[in-house]
Symmetry: C2
């Protein structure tokens, strides 16, 4: 194999696919990235894979001799990132392939040699039947992931709850995530927003039919990496999603991401969201986040509990934290309140996560009793619903 490529291309593509390389690989070869050089296309393909999540990226290079090899991802990344900008040559002698060859990396600054492992030992990425792709607008995915990913469970034993549940129903795309304590749901449009200047093209996309509806649950870990790929997309682009029995593949330009799906029935979350409420409160989001950040200094030391006291007479909500032997904190924020005065307790971390994801200036809270689910929604922008279970206040 012999390829000549630019240091910048190699660095960027390598750092992307390395995100799928596990830090504690179950098999030694998974600590490596797969490098495939194709002479016909003058293209190099890099792959990182942890048996659940795979990331693949292609870039143009001068391929003087084809080849397939794997190299230790972390070392290779550390070296390539430090090389000076300019041409990098990666090569090894095919006759060395009897055993694992020394791969030479030449740059303007000097020469590295790394022991590679033959490509055939690297596991194949699962193949997905690629007949029909769902085209999803990048903007909708960004909005949906930002508003839901944080609420997925980090507890691997909770299986299906470690994913985000994605539903396409005709022209809406819905994202949901819950860890059992809070639930985040975002509704977005499954069709690319047509700009006014492009109105003549309005009929270029055929309408989505019921046959194109789907529901899948995708591991949050894979979707966090998908966010990295999305950040490279141009405005107005769509990403292709291929789905089969066990796998999904997202494809954007030269990058793709493969992930297993999560099996099992996702909770019927819509039935958890109450329709009627006894009280509502509208507050400034940033002001509330700042107050929560201050009082959290004390709640972090104890049980993470913050108490809201709604007072409709003076149009204020008071946030208070009691950390007995250490002290206490109290801040009041002006709020538009409808309904009787009352007190309710929250886990401050769950509350802050939600307020940070709701990107509007003003947030509407809807309450029933002090032990019933609370809903927070933004007054503008994304169509998001954040449900949070209150915490009982012990006096």
């Amino acid at each position: 194999m012999k390829i000549v490529c630019s240091q910048v291309d190699l660095k960027n593509n390598l750092s992307l696919v390395s995100r799928a390389v596990p830090t504690r690989p179950t098999h030694p070869i998974l600590a490596n990235v797969l490098l495939v050089a194709n002479q016909t296309k003058n293209q190099v393909t890099l792959t990182g894979f942890d048996l659940s999540l795979g990331m693949r990226s292609c870039f143009c290079a001068e391929v003087e001799e084809e080849g397939v090899i794997t190299l230790p991802a972390k070392l290779l990344n550390d070296i390539i990132a430090r090389l000076p900008e300019g041409e990098v040559t990666i090569s090894y002698e095919e006759e060395e392939m009897e055993e694992n060859p020394l791969v030479t990396i030449n740059s303007l600054s000097g020469k590295f040699q790394l022991r590679g492992v033959k490509g055939e030992e690297y596991p194949e990425l699962p193949v997905v039947e690629r007949e029909e792709a769902f085209l999803l607008p990048v903007a909708a995915l960004n909005e949906g992931l930002k508003g839901s990913l944080f609420a997925a469970s980090n507890d691997e034993t909770k299986q299906i709850l470690t994913g985000v549940h994605l539903t396409r129903n005709l022209d809406t795309l819905e994202f949901a995530a819950t860890d059992g304590h809070r639930l985040a749901v975002v509704k977005t449009s499954a069709i690319e927003e047509t700009k006014e200047s492009e109105e003549e093209e309005i009929n270029s996309n055929p309408p989505i039919t019921e046959a194109q509806n789907f529901t899948i649950t995708i591991p949050a870990r894979a979707l966090r990496e998908l966010e990295k790929i999305l950040s490279m997309a141009k405005e107005g682009e769509s990403i292709a999603l291929f789905v089969d029995e066990g796998q999904v593949v997202f494809e954007l330009g030269q990058q793709n991401l493969t992930s297993r799906k999560l099996d099992g029935a996702y909770p019927n979350y819509n039935q958890l969201i109450p329709n009627n409420f006894e009280r509502t409160m509208v507050v400034d989001r940033k002001r509330m986040i700042e107050s929560l950040e201050r009082v959290s200094v004390l709640s972090d030391q104890k049980n993470n509990l913050v108490k809201f006291t709604l007072n409709s007479d003076n149009e204020q909500v008071t946030l208070s934290v009691e950390a007995k032997e250490l002290g206490n904190a109290k801040e009041s924020i002006s709020a538009e309140i409808n309904g009787d005065n009352f007190e309710i307790g929250f886990n401050i971390r769950y509350l802050m996560d939600g307020l940070k994801a709701l990107s509007a200036n003003e947030i509407k809270f809807q309450f029933n009793g002090a032990t019933q689910p609370v809903i927070a929604t933004p007054l503008s922008g994304a169509q998001m619903t954040y449900l949070i279970m209150p915490v009982q206040i012990r006096d």
Copy 2:
């Protein structure tokens, strides 16, 4: 007690003295900062102390009622840093002083209460006889610490080597630090450099006499914090140093730092520095640091060994690392070489530490044999000597 002060003053002074507060205090009270409010001076003094290092800082405040109290440093810092800019009021009722009082912190945003501990339980900073102060130029201290601190030992069992040895001999101030593997020595001027425009004042500072000579060894940990204080000094300022049997105090404006001295005889390091050399090499410092950073990716995986091969015929030094099962690296740098070709091995970390501290563009290396100490000096700027012991190369 009741004081009204600015959030910015409180935050800055608190974050400074908190640097002396131990993360794992041997007595619970040491996790607190001492706050003393003086009504006559309208001044608040904050103190942090770990029984070895003490930091004290004063600032102006409106003191409505005097008082002495200690508060948990970390909590207080976290709260004050998050408060909005503007006035902060700190108060407690003196009648509560029977037990530990709840101290109230009022700001524009709301109210915090923290359980304080009575000031009399806080240990006194050691008193140093303040009769004569040595005045040390801030610029000299900065230069000396930058060039020596990194070479002090981090191994607490090495006692005297965990400090920097400071010698004033008439108008020179010398800093030395060694951990047994390398030695850094910086010579600076003990007199404030007089600017040309101030030539008329040239005789304002009386010459330093032999009676004002001193040698002391100060813990590196204290000097790292001194660097923080020095960074607040204005150009041309001097810092006052008070020394007694067991303690030193550095004083700059409203800030002071107290530290115990390290007892014991400091190694006679000057006799370790060879006077004659068989070979010299001059290289570009940045070029060499960049090369070392690249090849260190491999040496870090093994024994930290980098081999220098000096070749006076093609005026190059080749840096090479051999990490057997992983691979190898080789870079060549142009160098002015005098003397026979030869090979020598170094601990790459020690080499990089020294090159980063030597701030000149060009560095001169002086060698004898491959097992004898090597000296690196900058060709311009600070007067610094870096001695490094080579590592034996095993073939």
